[in-house]
Symmetry: C2
């Protein structure tokens, strides 16, 4: 998605339509199995439009990562965590909010899906996905450290390692629940994660 403040020309709108449709297709079928024809059918556009905005399918996929997925993470996780004066509470709020939206169970986490599929196969995908993961971990670790200074997290906790584990368990929960296609499992697993976060305080 482009920056929404600038004057949205028609061309940018079509580009956004392509990105959104590509995101949905990739989210469901993965990047490799994503069909350009299906994406175009869902947008009402044609190959002329697609290859005008993107030189190849590969670049379309990278753009989905850089723009669509990045924005989702920034909005729901990065920004709230970074701006919060009460990091632990904010983290728990985020987790509870995610817990309350089990619609993610059907198709899983878009970021994790792409990581699992593409990281061993494509350097450029891996690089971009890894950068997002690193941002996630750094943001979360920093939030934990701030909470630590406030006395909300035990001093012996290694915040970087804890952040890494939280994200891993997070993605793990979503993945397992997605396999089971069970919102109940999703919430049970997420409750354990929330409990783990609480155990960091003590």
């Amino acid at each position: 998605m482009r920056t929404k403040t600038q004057t949205t020309k028609q061309a940018d709108l079509t580009r956004d339509k392509l990105l959104e449709a590509a995101f949905n297709e990739i989210h469901r079928y993965g990047f490799q199995a994503a069909s350009l024809s299906s994406i175009l059918a869902n947008t009402g556009l044609t190959k002329g439009a697609l290859y005008h905005h993107f030189p190849a399918k590969h670049d379309l996929g990278l753009a989905v990562v850089d723009e669509v997925i990045e924005q989702i993470l920034a909005e729901t996780i990065f920004i709230p965590l970074r701006d919060s004066p009460h990091p632990i509470k904010t983290l728990q709020d985020i987790l509870r909010k995610k817990r309350g939206k089990p619609d993610i169970v059907e198709l899983g986490c878009p970021l994790n899906n792409l990581m699992q599929e593409m990281s061993p196969l494509d350097e450029q995908f891996r690089h971009r996905l890894n950068a997002l993961m690193q941002r996630w971990q750094d943001t979360l670790a920093d939030a934990l450290r701030r909470a630590q200074k406030q006395g909300q997290v035990r001093k012996e906790i290694n915040c970087s390692m804890a952040a890494l584990f939280i994200i891993s368990a997070w993605e793990g929960c979503v993945g397992i629940a997605k396999n089971m296609q069970s919102a109940k499992t999703y919430q049970q697993c997420f409750d354990q994660l929330i409990e783990y976060v609480s155990s960091l305080a003590n």
Copy 2:
């Protein structure tokens, strides 16, 4: 893999070769992107052999789950956990053993890879993969309960929920490390998991 005790005829050997090559191909590229031509090239066999033993690619994939992946899990996890008189120690041994083999970082967990890719798309895959996951959770939960009776696990712990979370975090760790392509991250994350397991005792 067939039961190895029975007289391995030539036909069974070719079937096993197909299964092994299919397993490797699927492990690297996923099921959908797995190329039958590549599999056959790696075995030196032809389509005649493949479609004699398996009616379709779909069935080949299911056989990989039912036979190859099932056996890996049974050997390294299910059987050791089930037969152990000291479940917690055995679990920690298993985790440490997995920690010591970071080669899984390159391609990730075959079971989890397939779950993430196929569970939303194919009922039969999902059903089989889910059954393996359920066996895993049940086996682990039962081990934790036995440890609980021995006083090795706190009584207020819900063993089913703990098992679910351990497996989720487990798969999560492998997945994150696979994206980072970092054995160090893998081991750091796994250390956190091992620590969590220890925290169940206390």
